[in-house]
Point group: C2
Chain length 290, copies 2
């Protein structure tokens, strides 16, 4: 199976467990709505690409880490779309979970997907028990408090935002988690991959801000353009301008490529990042920046 | 250390990690508000009592399972109190998390505590790696979908409630998880403890309904009396009457005692349950039912 197929197969399997016979029917439908059809599945693709670059010693462990990370990303989108945050009615061209199923169900879908993420890792690493705790600790660190996604979102409620901590926690942490777990699952050293993870996480944050400012649908996030400024959120294009933001994106992608450590699949991995970079950019800007 | 001290020490330790230096300050305060001071800590006490009855072979593993279960219980209270569910302004005699910190922070506190629960198990079982996956899978099963807490809450959004599935998922599942993880951590067989877990979970559901109907503060849940009927939720006292509900509680406690399996600490454990049963009952009813 190629990487996209491994991801969709794994997501289907995780959702079969989460919505098994006996699940309240509306919750089951809403869980599926939150996860299928997916966006670009950038984070799990990154996780599996790192695992492949390191030799993919335990593909089952890499798969479940990738799936857990994508389930957590979906959970964060469902909760972020809720009225008390972005109040977004659309996601990936369809109604957001709370718009379609109500706030109660949206809250529970997010909670259920968080639990399903950790359950997936526990279930799928029974043959590789020495990987269970490191994978779960790494993933939890990327999504929880004090430094993960949850903390990133919480910075928006502070009277003074620590912008570096905010971006690192809200966007970079899950990229970093994807890279680290890919390395861990394949017996690589996650420390060797930290420079790459930081650069890629920052690049994705800039790309996301470019989408928001320039318009067009971002495959990864799937949120409507202009939402940041409507919600008064920090956006790099507003602070430094479009040209400078595009420059920064190019520099960050080059930095990511430079930071790929020595490993069996380093060249393939570098090519993948360059390719991904074009994909990350809004189509209207891709020619200017390529 | 005795059981209550092990629990409070473990909760403090888990919260030190979750609110470590760099955590957004409001989120850190709200996380602590959700967890301290605690209620009766019934579920973690049960977990550690089962582990003790089985010989407590790996006290560190039992501790982290107990802490994870209590963190998840606290998370569920924070989310249940939110406006889209119970809209409760009070919890354990203090403002609920959303009343004090706003809806955004309450949503994130719940998410953060769910993550912290699994992170705690992963962090604290590094010396006992064969226990990590079974503990996390058991806990996730008790709180997630299709059969755990999240599913239980979701039944309230269905046009037709499956009452048995609802009570089992909403209340009994976490008791069952507490009992099972206590046994697993101590090398016991969780299957031997299922009868006890079922009876205790059902007893607690009846006790909770009695509190709601009879008034008085329930140490465990800490929710104001009469909330179920105001929110149109099923309550056993409304369906079968006060006397019959008290009878059922007594029968369930006796059933729990009868279902304690052979193990080194069976007698102490039976005495603990009888003692707990008195504690479970509203003070105004305790003399009638004892």
């Amino acid at each position: 199976m190629d990487i996209p197929e491994r991801i969709e197969t794994g997501m289907q399997r995780a959702l079969r467990y989460a919505t098994a016979n006996g699940c309240p029917p509306i919750l089951a439908r809403a869980l599926r709505h939150a996860v299928f059809p997916g966006g670009a599945r950038i984070r799990p693709r990154l996780c599996l690409a790192v695992a492949a670059a390191c030799g993919d010693r335990e593909p089952g462990a890499a798969d479940c880490a990738a799936i857990a990370i994508e389930l957590l990303h979906c959970a964060s989108l469902v909760h972020d779309d809720m009225p008390c945050f972005d109040n977004a009615l659309q996601r990936r061209g369809a109604p957001s979970v709370h718009a379609q199923f109500g706030e109660e169900i949206a809250l529970l879908v997010g909670d259920g997907l968080i639990v399903a993420a950790f359950e997936t890792v526990a279930r799928e690493t029974q043959q590789t028990p020495l990987l269970t705790a490191p994978l779960i600790a790494t993933i939890a660190n990327a999504v929880g408090t004090p430094y993960g996604l949850v903390a990133g979102q919480a910075w928006e409620s502070e009277p003074e935002i620590n912008i570096t901590a905010y971006h690192r926690a809200k966007t970079a942490s899950l990229f970093s988690g994807a890279v680290s777990t890919g390395a861990i699952a394949a017996g690589g050293n996650p420390r060797d991959w930290l420079g790459l993870a930081d650069a890629l996480g920052a690049a994705y944050q800039v790309a996301d801000d470019l989408y928001d400012a320039a318009g067009g649908q971002n495959d990864g996030a799937g949120k409507p353009a202009g939402q940041d400024s409507r919600n008064g959120k920090p956006n790099i294009v507003t602070s430094i301008g479009l040209e400078a933001a595009l420059d920064r994106l190019k520099r960050l992608v080059a930095e990511a490529v430079d930071n790929v450590p020595d490993c069996p699949g380093a060249d393939t991995f570098r090519a993948m990042i360059r390719n991904e970079a074009t994909r990350l950019m809004p189509k209207t800007l891709a020619t200017t920046a390529a």
